[in-house]
Amino acid sequence: MKNIRTLAAIAALTGATVLHANQSILNVSYDPTRELYSELNKNFAKQWALKNGSSLAIDQSHGGSGKQSRSVVDGLEADVVTLALAYDIDAIADQSGLLPKDWQSRLPDNSSPYTSTIVFVVRKGNPKGVKDWGDLVKDGVKVITPNPKTSGGARWNYLAAYAYALRQNGGDEKKAKEFVSKLYSNVPVLDTGARGSTITFTERRLGDVFLSWENEAHLIQKQYPGQYEIVAPSLSILAEPPVALVDKVVDRKGTREVAQAYLEFLYTPEAQDIIGRHFYRPRNAAAAAKHAGHFPKIDLVTIEDFGGWRKAQKEHFNDGGTFDRIYKPYRP
């Protein structure tokens, strides 16, 4: 009788350790990375358990990059943040002091373990013949993109369009603004996040061309085989989605070591290969070469061409910025 009870107690205890990991960290991320981190987390947790003999649970929270940043400021206890653009992590540093302002210099490659860019997704056969940014301002072309006020991806979309117009018009800002204004007047729905726009384009079948993260574009092709085509424009923008440790949170929870190891893991060849498989452009040369077939050569401008994120945000996206001034709602 006593033995049975002991056995039961042991079973309960071991059961408990399986269910409840010794340690857990929370990764607060942006919309399209759900599938990527789901795989990365599995691999890192396995490694960590083997090396340290203690189990690790990595919790995920996804949403629009700007919204996620706000949640962390409001107290969402992220050990690490992996957002769509540096400004959203700057905002956390500026508004809450949870991490130092120089966070971006603490990890290699501007703290961005991968890059991505913006491409076009069109319906099969490209019925509207969309080839480049210039086609998006034509009458009768409906463009799907999320709202730059709330979505990280949408800000990259906007800046890429703006860069294209600047180059076409020899640096004339007035003409560039006219161009993006025309483009956004062709947008029938402004969703708050990238994934919302994807669903609008694919499930609700609205619009002729979808301005998408490159990885999301490939995901769409995988989810809907044979229904969509990817069009690479002549010029796009180099997106560097950054990652960072949230110092005050990891120190309070005592998770600095594992959180740091998690971020460093993202730069290992193993993680870089997973990153490439999910259609993000790896930093690691070997992984980049292995997956090069997915990534067409596009002329890429960078955020530095806009004077960095803090300046770009202030000029274009803050209240009263360029976007507010040029945005005219879609009229069918």
């Binding site: 919790d59 409001d74 107290g75 508004q95 809450s96």
Partner: protein
């Protein structure tokens, strides 16, 4: 002339009752029915159809996913905490405003409805403003290691807020109509406050109370807006069924999203049946309380 009388009645009855012509009546009833079928019944059918679109095995598989299981458990836990609390609070509120006259009574009655007037999203944001890291109580809460926002307590609070009116609103008209003669009678027969509550008042209002509790529960389990704002969307930790449905949908797992949605829809249908029955019994309760003049 009996013939002309019937004719007269036939011609005038509907006109006298509503003042509407038959064509108007037919149009109104017709458009309500079309609306009902198109926007309420059809989507409900589609939910179940989509849920089984990949077969029964896929449907079952959805519920073997630990995140789905957790979202169901969390939804039940939140309802299990917030519904009893709101039941007690609702009875106390209804008791206070129907039994006592006090300063601020009409203000209290107005405030009871507040959660119905305020958008749930605003309610959630209010909690972030109060309990968030940048909010009034944020620093104090952090010092004491108390987590409210982006954790289960905040989700319970948000649910409490949006579901607060249902019990009280169901009870107040009933208790007002019933009056408190039976309670007074019990008082003259020696019952104390608790005995009056348990033996007289609760049995008197039980169907009205059940009606309120059912509505409260349905809303607690289905609430999206307010809970979404304070949840933080940590899967396996702070995702309720409605939030989980959104996540599944956004991850292209449409069949799974609809499978979970079908459970909520089923819950809604069961709620509707229970509610209708409770409503009917509550009406009887009310009728029984009216004095009869028959010998």
């Amino acid at each position: 002339m009996p013939g002309s009388t019937t004719l007269h009645l036939k011609l005038h009855r509907p006109l006298r009752a509503t003042g509407d012509r038959p064509a108007v009546r037919r149009f109104l009833i017709g458009s309500v029915l079309v609306f009902f079928i198109l926007f309420l019944l059809l989507p409900l059918v589609v939910v179940f159809q989509e849920a089984f679109s990949k077969g029964l095995a896929a449907f079952v598989e959805t519920f073997r996913d630990p995140y789905t299981q957790h979202s169901i458990v969390l939804t039940l836990v939140i309802a299990l905490i917030s519904v009893p609390l709101n039941t007690v609070l609702g009875i106390a509120a209804a008791w206070s405003v129907t039994r006592y006259r006090f300063r601020g009574r009409s203000l209290l009655i107005t405030l009871l409805d507040l959660p119905l007037w305020v958008s749930p999203v605003i309610a959630g944001l209010l909690y972030v403003l109060v309990f968030g890291a940048q909010g009034w109580l944020g620093p104090w809460l952090r010092e004491h290691e108390i987590r409210i926002i982006f954790a289960v307590p905040g989700m319970v609070l948000a649910t409490l807020f949006v579901t607060f009116p249902f019990v009280a609103r169901g009870l107040i008209p009933l208790m007002q109509a019933q009056g408190m003669k039976e309670e007074e009678a019990a008082l003259t027969l020696g019952a104390n406050g608790w005995q009056i509550l348990w033996r007289i008042t609760l049995p008197k209002i039980k169907w009205g109370l059940l009606y309120g509790v059912i509505l409260c529960n349905a809303r607690a389990m289905g609430e999206f807006g307010a809970v979404s704002v304070v949840s933080g969307h940590i899967r396996g930790k702070t995702n309720t069924m409605p939030l989980h449905i959104e996540i599944l949908y956004n991850e292209y797992q449409f069949a799974s999203a609809f499978a979970v949605a079908s459970v909520l829809a089923l819950l809604a249908i069961v709620t509707l049946i229970l509610k209708t029955r409770a409503e009917w019994r509550a009406e009887q309760e009310l009728r029984a309380s009216r004095p009869s003049i028959t010998p």
